[in-house]
């Protein structure tokens, strides 16, 4: 695999802990019976999400299809996205940007959890994905001194996780990366916003930002396609994605321009066609504060959900026609994951986990575990 790093780097738990100094809360399956229950559990669907606890502290929880917490992993700082290997055997949970840690867990095998620290001069952006065979993990990262995005490539098949190298993301601020169904290309949403850890999460280039969605060869990292929106929308940060049944990426944006504008926030992007922007009823658009928090497809990939936590609404789209299907009011709802055939599970910052059987029905609150605030994303890892 021709990668841009000069030599592979190995990671160890010790390296992880020392990188966190005295702060490290040892990641572990919390609760006495929970980890064991997960290992021995039937084949019920499971979901994972980062959380914040009202008592303080962050972690990753594994939930069942009734919204009940089955396992907990504590994290030393706020988590964000979770990548799941195709067979659901393994997941990787990333620190929220500009964090520098990720954990890799094999929840059904008893294999010990592993941790990765970002390479020197890099931090994670919070998302990643696995190769089709589960051997490689692709993580979006910031080469912050050069202000360019990269996709770090990790071999997670051995006892020691190795960073094989990195691909150029051909943009700034790569936020989410997906693997196409064939497993040979990566789709990267470059949010376009420059940040530097010296300035925390401050946005450094709002005037000149130029987000893009690129298609990269999964083996070589070669740029296969690159899409940018019209210049008038250069401040629409393209961030979160889900694939529909035709392999097109549905991209949710966050607009950094004037608060009085209401640009389209959802784009459909395929490899060889120009991006299609989708409109919303104006009355609804006025309520979203120009912000889409996450994007998910139903398991049959026929319906797309885009959550808008600032507007307290989750919107639904017909994946085939691009038609807007309606919305649900879910206060601070952001995490969305497919469940059953054509349904969604939606998590919110008030601890609620809601089941939506179909877009026209009323969402049903399944659970509200005490003291949990669900973070931006929820991922199905055995559906």
């Amino acid at each position: 695999m021709p990668l841009m790093a000069t030599r592979p780097v190995e990671f160890s738990r010790r390296g992880f802990l020392s990188s966190l100094g005295g702060l490290a809360a040892l990641p572990a399956f919390g609760g006495s019976s929970l980890g064991a229950a997960l290992l021995s559990s039937s084949d019920a669907p499971l979901f994972a999400s980062a959380f914040k606890k009202s008592a303080g502290g962050y972690g990753i929880a594994v939930l069942d299809d009734l919204g009940q917490i089955q396992a907990e992993i504590s994290l030393p700082a706020r988590g964000h996205g979770i990548a799941v290997s195709k067979a659901g055997k393994c997941f990787a949970a990333f620190a929220r940007r500009p964090g520098t840690f990720a954990i890799i867990a094999w929840p059904f095998s008893g294999q010990p959890m592993q941790t990765i620290v970002a390479a020197p001069g890099r931090h994670f952006y919070g998302h990643g994905c696995f190769s089709k065979d589960g051997r490689f993990l692709y993580a979006v990262e910031n080469d912050f001194e050069a202000a360019r995005g990269v996709v770090g490539v990790y071999d997670v098949s051995g006892e020691i996780i190795t960073r094989l190298g990195e691909f150029d993301s051909h943009g700034i601020g790569p936020h989410e990366v997906l693997l196409n169904p064939d497993g040979n290309v990566l789709i990267v949403a470059n949010g376009g916003i420059e940040t530097h850890p010296d300035y925390g999460r401050e946005k450094l280039n709002l005037e000149t930002m130029s987000p893009s969605v690129v298609v990269l060869d999964g083996n070589s990292g070669d740029l296969l396609a690159e899409h940018r929106l019209d210049r008038s929308l250069h401040q629409l940060s393209l961030r979160h994605m889900a694939l529909d049944g035709s392999g097109r990426a549905w991209v949710g944006g966050q607009f950094e321009g004037s608060k009085t504008d209401t640009p389209p926030l959802v784009a459909v992007i395929s490899r060889d066609e120009a991006p299609v922007l989708l409109d919303l009823p104006q009355k609804l658009a006025d309520q979203l504060e120009n912000y889409i928090g996450s994007v998910a497809a139903t398991s049959d990939q026929s319906v797309i959900a885009t959550s808008a936590p600032r507007g307290g609404k989750t919107l639904f789209w017909n994946a085939q026609t691009g038609n807007y299907l309606g919305h649900q009011n879910i206060a601070d709802g952001c995490g969305v994951a497919p469940i059953d055939q054509g349904s969604f599970l939606i998590s919110d910052g008030n601890g609620g986990v809601s089941y939506l059987s179909e877009p026209g029905e009323r969402a049903e609150i399944l659970a509200r575990p005490a003291g949990f605030a669900w973070d931006n994303h929820m991922t199905a890892f055995r559906i």
Partner: protein, 357 residues
């Protein structure tokens, strides 16, 4: 950077001196609402074990009625504190152990059925019950075993499982009383959670400053209103009247649906009022408090008009449309409390909405 509401930003520019004292509303809410209400809740639950024992020892009409009254009082006092989902109520999963809800798929019922079929003796003492699933150890479990679907007390009544039910109910009632006592004591203690909220900043502090602490307290009230609307009322209304499911209102099985809803709403109102926010609000926003009180009182009036049992009046009376009106009030209250009043005080909003990614 925290995203502060637009109106708040404007207010803070106009009233720079007002952003200073976030301690007073925290102190006022602890002393003026949380401590007295958790004390009342503990006192109500203290009556529960003896009334369970009485009705089990002699299932007379009087004892059944007495149990029903005690249970109703506990539900009412619980409704006034259950939205305080911070600190003591959350520690040791107390809130879920006190009442396992929401539970639209009947997890509690399924687990209780298993206890019965296994004649599980560990459910029969408060100590061992406290170690079991949260779904089987609180008021929602007690309601299931002590009342029939029509709200009649069946606890103590002749049946095959009478003795098991009585022993299990006694264990639940003692467990609930113990948890309520622990909540009361944790709030009453000078070095308890009050201290966490008030002694902010420094190494190991939960909150870096008073504003963060007040934001969390305010957020619990705002979330409380969302729970009333989306979790406690909306499932009962369903998508239309013919799909209504009044039995989805918490504690409606025991005939306490209206008691619960009215008490949680009056509790949230009293909690907001206990903070005495007017002096620290920018003058041009003080009217929000009056507006909120008016809206709460409207909703209360509507709730008080509801004729129990809702399981019947949903079909035959106008309870459905009355409750739909309460939802409209709650929409407006949620905006007032969670957005406008919080905004006027310069407090930040929801977790995902705030500084997302």
């Amino acid at each position: 950077m925290k995203r502060i509401f637009l109106s708040a930003a404007a207010a803070l520019i106009a009233w720079p001196a007002l952003a200073t004292d976030y301690t007073q509303p925290i102190q006022d809410m602890i002393a003026g609402y949380i401590q007295p209400e958790t004390t009342k809740f503990a006192a109500a639950t203290a009556e529960l074990p003896s009334s369970v024992k009485s009705v089990c020892a002699a299932p007379s009409t009087e004892n059944a009625a007495e149990f029903k009254t005690v249970f109703s009082d506990v539900v009412k006092e619980f409704a006034r504190v259950h939205f305080l989902r911070i600190g003591p109520m959350v520690d040791e999963d107390r809130i879920s152990r006190l009442a396992f809800q929401p539970d639209p798929r009947g997890i509690g019922q399924r687990q209780i059925r298993k206890l019965y079929s296994a004649k599980d003796a560990t459910a029969l003492s408060a100590d061992s019950l406290a170690e079991k699933s949260v779904a089987v150890q609180g008021l929602t479990a007690l309601q299931l075993i002590a009342f029939d679907k029509n709200g009649n007390v069946v606890l103590g009544a002749e049946s095959e499982s009478r003795d098991f039910t009585c022993a299990y109910a006694a264990a639940i009632s003692e467990n609930v009383a113990a948890i309520a006592l622990a909540v009361r004591d944790a709030w009453a203690s000078a070095d308890g959670y009050s201290q966490t909220l008030l002694a902010t900043g420094g190494a190991g502090a939960r909150y870096q400053n008073e504003q963060e602490a007040l934001e969390d307290m305010f957020q619990t009230l705002s979330t409380g209103l969302i729970v009333v609307r989306d979790q406690n009322i909306a499932p009962a209304l369903g998508s239309s009247k013919d799909k209504a499911r009044p039995n989805r209102i918490p504690f409606s099985r025991s005939g306490n649906g209206v008691v619960f809803l009215a008490a949680e709403m009056s509790g949230i109102l009293d909690a907001v009022k206990s903070m005495n926010l007017e002096p620290i609000m920018p003058e041009e926003h003080v009217w929000l408090i009056g507006s909120m009180t008016f809206e709460f009182e409207n909703a209360q009036k509507t709730l008080n008009n509801l004729q129990p049992p809702l399981r019947q009046t949903f079909e035959t009376g106008d309870a459905y449309s009355q409750l739909s009106l309460v939802v409209i009030s709650l929409n407006s209250l949620q905006r007032l409390v969670g957005e406008r009043i919080a905004g006027a005080l310069g407090l930040a909003g929801g977790f995902n909405a705030l500084d997302g990614d």
